[in-house]
Symmetry: C2
Subunit: 81 residues, 2 copies
DNA sequence: AGTGAATAATAATTCAAG
DNA sequence: CTTGAATTATTATTCACT
């Protein structure tokens, strides 16, 4: 079902760097969700996940999907408003 | 030059909704920058611009490029920490 | 280093269907 | 209303060149 899958997605992207929707598909399938890229694309959209460029460990720029609320937490920790 | 173009990009995405890199190319060309999608893709990466799903005026979800700091402003306005 | 043309890779949407 | 297969659209990268 959609809700469980979307929860799983939020947990996944909060837990580790997810670089593409295909990677997300693979991770979800490992957890037993039968899902395709088309659906993940829709989930990403509904969840409002952003694709952002980040610095990798080796210094080069890569991409990662992030939860909007993660940005909030990050920012609040930075500024302590 | 790269720096001027990237400044222009930041201004553009802060000023209005930019939905794709091709749109960015068109807007830049209007300002006299000769640039292609390949370069804009690299600029987006260097600037750390995120592609995020947003609600359009008509209620449907579309995509938009945003500056990370724009997320900060948005969030701070939401929460008034 | 910075870029564009071409290409590969990735992501969004359409179309049909349950 | 939700989904997958196929398709289209978009974006990232490669390769050559400067």
């Amino acid at each position: 079902m959609k809700e469980r899958r979307q929860r799983a997605i939020l947990t996944l992207v909060a837990t580790r760097p997810v670089h593409s929707q295909e990677e997300l598909v693979a991770l979800l399938q490992r957890q037993g969700f039968e899902v395709t890229q088309a659906t993940v694309s829709r989930d990403v959209k509904e969840l409002g996940l952003a694709k952002v460029p980040i610095k990798s460990d080796r210094g080069d720029e890569i991409f990662k999907y992030v939860v909007p609320s993660a940005a909030v937490n990050y920012v609040s920790r930075l500024h302590r408003w």
